[in-house]
């Protein structure tokens, strides 16, 4: 299990290539990459604030739960903070298990929990200033299925 919170960018392809490398007991790997999306065509950057210490602790607890619940053989959560440009990767999750059902479910669980239980806050920066992204009720509702 690896949890990493960083300002620096990362190379999703390199992370996937190194993930669970050399293991012979893994039958399924799922990876998800979240990117900065520009819906308006006017987004200059996304600023991500976080709570150092709590962020790592909260993500580690979620990852540990996923590993236990779906018997993951490997698990990676990488999340950035700071100022990101549209198109840049924000975060990634990778899960590895014997079979795909477990790998998919664990990845979805981690994505749902990262959305509303990891202490990150996004601010959209445009020419006219910054707007904090509001949490969606649907993100909170998504947790009930777990």
């Amino acid at each position: 299990m690896r949890v990493q919170v960083q300002a620096a960018s990362f190379d999703p392809a390199a992370e996937i290539a190194g993930f669970a490398k050399g293991r012979r007991d893994i039958g399924a790997e799922v990876s998800f990459i979240g990117r900065v999306r520009d819906d308006s065509g006017h987004l200059l950057a996304l600023e991500i604030e976080h709570y150092p210490g709590m962020t790592e602790a909260a993500i580690s607890a979620m990852a540990q739960e996923a590993v236990t619940r779906w018997q993951l053989l490997e698990c990676l959560v990488l999340h950035r903070y700071g100022r990101l440009a549209p198109g840049e990767p924000i975060m990634m999750v990778a899960t590895a298990a014997r079979h795909r059902a477990e790998a998919f479910a664990a990845a979805e669980f981690l994505m749902d929990y990262l959305k509303s239980r990891a202490p990150f806050w996004k601010k959209e920066i445009t020419q006219r200033g910054g707007d904090w992204v509001a949490a969606k009720a649907s993100d909170e509702d998504a947790l009930t299925r777990w």
Partner: protein, 82 residues
């Protein structure tokens, strides 16, 4: 003495990222009432606590949780990670 941290728009409204507060408040709700009574910027940040979350020693908690023994409390809006 308790270390109080503010994040996102709570930090912006109050104009501070963290401060040390001398308080005898028994719960986060009581501390919020004390802070909100200080100055308009605190009152503005804490106007609607249903729009806020609280963490005690870096763990999510409720506004009526006991503050006894807590060293660090943080106030912030609902999280938007992922």
């Amino acid at each position: 003495m308790i270390e109080v941290l503010y994040f996102a728009w709570v930090r912006e409204r109050i104009g501070l990222a963290r401060e040390t507060v001398e308080t005898g408040a028994a719960t986060p709700a009581a501390l919020v009432a004390e802070l909100a009574a200080r100055e308009p910027r605190y009152a503005a940040a804490f106007a609607d606590t249903s729009a806020l979350r609280v963490a005690l020693d870096q763990k999510l908690a409720s506004f009526d949780a006991p503050l006894a023994g807590v060293r660090e409390i943080a106030f912030f809006p609902p999280m938007t990670g992922g």
